[in-house]
């Protein structure tokens, strides 16, 4: 039996004006277990708190019930007071007799009666309270950034600059991501490479940053502050530590016809290659699908010409185990496949291209060295049609339901740059809405129209048909003029919708981070915690969380870094003691609780049990990681056997409150 003290607060006249506080403390003094009951003007005041502390000592109280304002207001105050008097802070319960009683009722007998019942419920709960200890878990002072695009790079740099170690895992041979493929960036039109490559170099040179290029995350275990990650370093058949990136091998390799993914297959590379000149790390990679030596053991030319002796045909995938305190997901995006959009003729004509391909066609390092030429015949295009919202805002199932957010701006950029470089071209942009809400964005778009004479037409392209003479017949509607247009175009550029990278989904499973139906990572709170995943210790940076342009990505990357720094700056994490706990003896190991846990706090172990008949049996049982559990209680209801309970809000505690409230008296 607990020894409970009841403290009824007047809150000046806030409570005492409507509730007969003396009657309440008198009535509650007769409840089982109550050894002390008192009322006082302001319980939260210094003097009031002292009353509580003194009573705890004088009456050896094991539980405290404060009848006062909302626990959201002063629960912590009274917990601290109890703790200072040597009572476990979780032995304090608050009966809310102000917000939920005195302030809403006018009639004193009614309010008093209700206050007594609320007090009884709190007493009933305290009877079943158990002392709880906040746990501690150490923080490993290193962060992992998954994805080495602009988001990952920025996050890594910010974290490293704060003095913490960061690993970047990038699945491609070089970091840099999509931004390396861009020509210029809106709305200021600086060259993407000029602003990105210095950052890439910074990463490479930063003593706190370690880049795992051509690598993937294989396995993630652990929890916030304490992740254990297995990284797979894919075999590149070149010893990274020896390769100087001189390019001798890539020049001599006899296999020439390999489609170059950096230029989206619009030109070719060799079987051994460095993706582009400013690649970081600047290390060659052998493509085993094309290399003669790896395919049939004949060639070996690259090994011969390599002065550093870096070529290693026998290299295997390597697995590295690392520990981290925090993980940042920065897996980025890809344009969608266009096979559901036959009407635009993407697969029928080389001159129908995606916007990303257009970037490469206008980029000085691209397949045409920056001269805008038709991919089919290498001629200069005179009429270019840009189509927006290809696959975006599409609820028919062919594309994506969301707005891809970046297309309006880059299309304006493309149109503007084309008109600037080639004033003799006619440029049409078909749009549904032009969305330009960023800083200087609308001005940018208006410049395309007003200064560069781009024809913006409200309407959609219905059909692109390649003609025998190489022209593209574009059939479109002009909704404002109310006519159907037929344009003979030389080049059609599709502002293709973007989607999360395909690696994101399996990664989310590994991280137990939740995703939305579009495979974007969900944030812990859409407004208030936009760079955190609901899973503690997992942070989000860039387009993996939703479509984003570069300025937004960089801001989010910095924000994610700030959150990571905040976490790594702590030596230990204090954990909320009101967490779920599984009773192994009753657990069936059915996984229901794990399925509803938003934090991945539940794991399973095979445990040997001694059965009542003295045999042993191995059973799968759930185990809650108190450092990760946030105490929502979803698991407790999912559990059919009642093995899962929530400390501080246990089944018996809540039922005791129910009983006290419903009691017939």
């Amino acid at each position: 039996m607990q020894r409970i003290g009841v403290f009824v607060c007047w809150c000046g006249s806030n409570i005492a004006g409507t509730v007969d506080v003396k009657a309440v403390s008198e009535a509650l003094s007769h409840e089982p277990g109550v050894v002390y009951s008192i009322n006082y003007q302001y319980m939260c005041s210094e003097a009031g708190q002292n009353l509580v502390k003194d009573a705890i000592r004088d009456y050896n109280l094991t539980g405290v019930v404060i009848c006062s304002c909302s626990p959201r207001m002063h629960e912590n105050t009274f917990r601290k007071a109890a703790a200072s008097a040597g009572l476990n802070p979780y032995m304090v319960e608050i009966a809310n007799i102000r917000e939920q009683c005195s302030w809403i009722h006018k009639d004193m007998p009614t309010a008093t009666e209700k206050a007594i019942i609320l007090g009884r419920a709190a007493i009933a709960k305290v009877h079943l309270n158990a002392p709880l200890m906040a746990g501690e878990s150490p923080v490993i002072k290193r962060a992992l950034v998954i994805g080495g695009g602009i988001a990952g790079i920025q996050t890594a740099l910010d974290i490293a600059d704060a003095g913490f170690e960061v690993d970047i895992v990038e699945k491609e041979p070089t970091i840099g991501g999509k931004m390396t493929q861009l020509d210029k960036t809106f709305p200021t039109l600086d060259c993407a490479a000029c602003i990105l490559t210095p950052k890439m170099v910074d990463c490479a040179q930063h003593e706190k940053i370690n880049i795992f290029s051509f690598s993937e995350v294989e396995k993630v275990k652990g929890f916030v502050g304490n992740f254990h990650v297995t990284i797979k370093k894919k075999a590149r058949f070149v010893d990274e530590t020896k390769c100087t990136g001189c390019g001798e091998c890539t020049a001599k390799c006899p296999v020439k016809g390999v489609p170059n993914e950096f230029n989206l297959g619009m030109d070719n590379r060799r079987a051994i290659y460095i993706p582009f000149a400013q690649a970081v790390p600047k290390v060659a990679t052998i493509d085993p699908n094309y290399c003669n030596m790896l395919k049939n053991g004949k060639c070996g030319l690259c090994a011969k010409v390599c002065g550093a002796g870096a070529i290693d045909y026998k290299q295997q995938d390597q697995f590295v185990e690392r520990e981290y305190g925090a993980i940042v997901v920065a897996t980025g995006f890809n344009p969608i496949k266009l096979d559901q959009f036959d009407e635009f003729g993407y697969s029928q004509s080389k001159d129908v291209i995606t916007s990303l391909e257009f970037e490469r066609l206008t980029n000085a390092a691209g397949p045409t060295s920056g001269t805008l030429l038709r991919p089919s015949d290498g001629k200069h295009p005179h009429t270019i049609v840009f189509v927006q919202c290809v696959g975006s805002r599409d609820t028919s199932g062919c594309g994506k339901t969301y707005c891809s957010r970046i297309c309006c701006m880059y299309t304006a950029k493309h149109a503007m740059l084309t008109r600037e470089k080639y004033p003799d071209t006619d440029v049409y942009v078909f749009y549904i809405d032009v969305r330009s809400p960023g800083k200087n964005y609308d001005e940018f778009y208006r410049r395309a129209v007003e200064q560069y004479g781009v024809h913006y037409i409200k309407g959609m392209v219905g059909k692109v048909a390649p003609r025998a003479d190489g022209k593209l017949m574009v059939q479109a509607s002009d909704l404002i003029a109310g006519e159907q247009l037929h344009i003979e175009a030389d080049l059609v550029v599709l502002a293709t919708a973007i989607e999360p990278d395909k690696t994101a989904r399996p990664l989310a499973t590994m991280l137990t981070a939740s995703m939305d139906t579009n495979d974007f990572f969900t944030e812990a709170h859409a407004k208030l915690r936009p760079v955190e995943s609901p899973t503690a210790g997992i942070f989000l940076s860039g387009a993996c969380q939703g479509p984003k342009d570069i300025p937004d990505t960089v801001s989010q990357a910095g924000a994610a870094a700030a959150k990571v720094i905040g976490l790594l700056a702590k030596d230990k994490l204090t954990t909320n003691p009101c967490v779920a706990e599984s009773n192994e003896l009753m657990c069936n190991g059915c996984s229901s609780c794990e399925k509803v846990c938003p934090y991945g706090a539940i794991t399973y172990l095979d445990k040997e049990f001694r059965m009542p008949d003295r045999t042993t049996m191995v059973r799968r049982v759930a185990s809650v990681n108190p450092a990760v559990c946030q105490g929502c209680g979803a698991c407790t209801v999912a559990c059919p056997s009642g093995a899962m309970d929530l400390k501080g809000f246990s089944n018996s505690q809540i039922m005791a409150e129910v009983d006290a409230i419903c009691q017939m008296k």
């Binding site: 069936n588 229901s592 399925k595 049996m617 999912a638 059919p640 009642g642 039922m655």
Partner: protein
């Protein structure tokens, strides 16, 4: 079929694939068949039986049996395979230790059901074409097979095995059954009628726990109703509230996990149509959250451990059609 099964089980015991066989054993009468484990060809010859009275769903026994040394052979009827899969999904059965032979089923009856049809003093039963010919103390009686089958078999949901290592006989199909007809009929009643219906049914409950203990979904290490710490433990239904409570919570705990095998209703000594509670949940889940058949696979998320942002609100209960 029985002969083939005995032969094949003997072979598998002989060649060491399995060490035990879980099947059905003959009894005193023609209908009182008991699930049993056989360890030799002789035992199989002596007692193994497979006939129209082998209604027991053997899947639940595998929770214990698959944890023992050696592999066990089990014969599963189509509807038992759903339970098996569901138990695999919940990590309750060690799959590697089980060898499944899928066997066909054209419906199972039992002695109690025939008696409810007015047959007294059953001495023997022959299956003649589509009829059961029952030899009784009081003369011979012929019942059409269709009439002799309990509801769960007349509305069989599937003749197809969801899982097996080996199949005997022809594989069947998932069927379009009318299993929700009675649920719909109840839904169409007024609440007062429904209340009266369920009171008349549940008031007969003697809380023998047969429904729970036979249920493959009710496989908890310790049931909340047996656990004094749960706060809702009951040893006997002391009043109507406890009758309701037990059956509501039991149905809720198996909601989304119940494969609708119908064992609960088969074993109820008071003949309470308990499957109508489970089927209500199944039907609601199908309507609210899309078709879902527990035990169809071992991977999918169960409806109650899943959600969509667009799920219906609980207020649908007040607003949907039908009688209020």
């Amino acid at each position: 079929m029985q002969g083939m099964m005995i032969a094949r089980a003997g072979e598998l015991l002989e060649n060491g694939t399995v060490t035990r066989v879980l099947g059905w054993q003959t009894g005193e009468f023609v209908y009182d068949i008991t699930p049993a484990v056989f360890e030799s060809a002789e035992e199989l010859e002596k007692g193994f039986v497979y006939n129209s009275f082998c209604g027991n769903n053997l899947s639940k026994y595998l929770i214990q049996a698959s944890r023992k040394e050696g592999k066990i052979l089990v014969f599963l009827k189509p509807c038992d395979t759903y339970s098996f899969n569901q138990l695999i999904k919940e990590h309750r059965i060690v799959r590697e230790n089980v060898y499944i032979i899928g066997i066909p089923c054209d419906g199972k009856t039992d002695g109690e059901f025939l008696k409810a049809k007015g047959v007294k003093g059953i001495l023997g039963i022959r299956e003649e074409g589509d009829n059961f010919v029952v030899d009784t103390l009081y003369g011979e009686k012929t019942i059409a097979r269709e009439d002799a089958l309990p509801e769960r078999c007349r509305n069989c949901k599937s003749k197809k095995h969801m899982v097996y290592d080996e199949l005997m006989g022809e594989e069947g199909e998932v069927l379009d059954s009318h299993r929700f007809d009675m649920v719909e009929k109840l839904e169409a009643m007024t609440p007062d009628e429904r209340f009266a219906f369920w009171r008349s049914q549940l008031s007969r409950c003697i809380r023998c726990n047969a429904c729970r203990n036979v249920c493959p979904a009710c496989s908890c290490e310790k049931c909340v109703f047996d656990n004094p710490q749960s706060g809702i433990a009951q040893k006997a239904a002391a009043d109507s509230f406890e009758e309701n409570m037990f059956h509501i919570i039991r149905a809720f705990h198996v909601a989304g996990r119940c494969t609708d095998c119908g064992e609960c209703s088969r074993v109820c000594p008071q003949n309470i149509p308990l499957h109508l509670l489970n089927r209500k949940f199944i039907k609601d889940i199908d309507t609210f959250y899309g078709e879902y058949q527990a035990g169809e696979d071992t991977e999918s998320r169960a409806p109650l451990t899943n959600y969509t942002q667009e799920d219906v609100e609980p207020s649908i209960v007040y607003t949907r059609g039908g009688n209020n």
